[in-house]
């Protein structure tokens, strides 16, 4: 009896054990990011870097979310993750971001944030696409549109959607002129 139980147990383990197929490899094509490139408004074929750019997102509760690798950089191209639980994602594009601590680094209450923040909203429709048994689904984004809130002092002058479907992390989807 005991020996047969062990044998059956072994058979069950053999069928129920963990497989390579069941672990999602990091290299698998994932939910793509939105790629934006910054161009010069006066010479529209040339890219132009944004100085001291800090980008933050807004979550469901409208709280700030830090975006990785975008805490004050100077660049002409950025990748942004989009929310997979909503058909729009709101960001703050803060140019020339700096903090003037008024000569008191310890006291943050009198700090002044310098630079020019613009609120950008990206709207899209979502589609969940099956990847594999281990990774489940990824989201792709379609019908991309973008708007910049008019705060009377916009540094983003114009934008142009060049690819309204985000399926891969390869080429730029939006041109921003400043």
């Amino acid at each position: 009896m005991k020996k047969i139980s062990v044998l059956i147990l072994l058979l069950l383990l053999a069928t129920a054990s963990c497989e390579k197929d069941d672990i999602c490899a990091e290299t698998t094509a994932t939910t793509p990011k939105l790629i934006l490139r910054f161009y010069d408004i006066t010479s529209q074929d040339e890219t132009k870097s944004v100085t001291g750019l800090r980008v933050t997102g807004f979550d469901t509760n409208n709280d700030d979310v830090e975006i990785s690798n975008l805490n004050v950089t100077t660049t002409d191209s950025i990748n942004l993750p989009l929310r997979t639980d909503s058909n729009s994602t709101k960001f703050t594009f803060h140019k020339d971001y700096a903090i003037d601590n008024n000569g008191t680094p310890e006291d943050i209450s009198d700090d002044i944030v310098l630079g020019n923040p613009d609120i950008v909203t990206i709207n899209y429709t979502r589609e969940d696409v099956f990847v594999s048994r281990a990774c489940g689904f990824k989201t792709i984004f379609k019908d991309l549109t973008m708007s910049v809130e008019d705060d009377g002092n916009k540094w983003i002058i114009n934008s142009e959607i060049i690819n309204s479907t985000i399926e891969k992390n390869t080429s730029a989807h939006v041109k921003i002129f400043h």
Partner: protein, 233 residues
């Protein structure tokens, strides 16, 4: 139960000793008759797994009919429900299946023994549904919280057809009562794939692999022979 185990071991032992004994059989003057009939049974491993595995429910009945000395017409009929869950995906496959084919006995029985070491072939067909219970969107960027979707998506009316090679043993443990173990190697011939999903588990076939169309299975059967007639060896 220990007796069953001994029987199986005994069958194994005989494979090794059979070669040496062949010469003496010819001189035996007593004629032994063998039973022919319909053997009906069930897969005990599926019942045990149903009890111990919360994600599995399965039941299978099987039958074989002795067509000639070594040839049996065999088939299985069953139902399975299996929930598969990985880090990002949880889905349930549910359905029924049947398999039909032949078993060929390769073992030479002594005296009035009626054991089998057999190899078999089956064609199997399954009709099933797959339900996605929940999934978490795969996103290597986690600046925003991960999204998990909990609404179930049902894909029904799926079918699959496959071929199976079987190797197994059956041993008579009591009069007309047999137990057997078998292993199955399977290859899918056709299947209907759900839209924007794949067949994670196919009732009767078992789990699928990303690498291709092959699968494996095991059975532990208990069956009872309904004797119809007897025939000499």
């Amino acid at each position: 139960m220990l007796k069953y185990f001994i029987s199986i071991n005994f069958v194994m032992l005989m494979i090794f000793s059979a070669g040496a004994q062949n010469d003496s059989i010819a001189q035996d003057s007593i004629k032994y008759k063998q039973k022919y009939g319909l053997r009906l049974g069930g897969d005990l491993s599926k019942i045990i797994r149903t009890v111990i595995d919360d994600d599995y429910t399965g039941f299978e009945i099987n039958a074989d009919y002795r067509y000639s000395k070594n040839l049996y017409i065999a088939g299985e009929l069953g139902t399975e429900e299996k929930t598969t869950s990985t880090e990002f995906l949880n889905s349930t496959a549910k359905g029924s299946y049947f398999k039909a084919g032949i078993d060929y006995n390769m073992y030479k029985n002594w005296l009035d023994m009626d054991n089998m070491i057999y190899s078999g072939f089956r064609v199997g067909a399954s009709s099933f549904s797959q339900t996605i219970n929940s999934y978490t969107i795969f996103n290597t960027n986690q600046d925003f919280p991960q999204t998990t979707i909990n609404e179930s998506i049902n894909h029904s009316g799926l079918t699959a057809i496959w071929a199976e090679l079987i190797i197994g043993i059956k041993a008579k443990v009591l009069n007309n009562l047999y137990i057997g173990l078998n292993a199955q190697l399977k290859g899918r011939i056709t299947e209907t794939e759900p839209d924007n999903f794949e067949n994670i588990y196919i009732p009767g076939f078992g789990r699928t692999y990303d690498s291709g169309r092959f699968g494996i299975g095991f059975g532990y059967n208990v069956s009872y022979l309904i004797p119809l007639y007897k025939k000499g060896k």
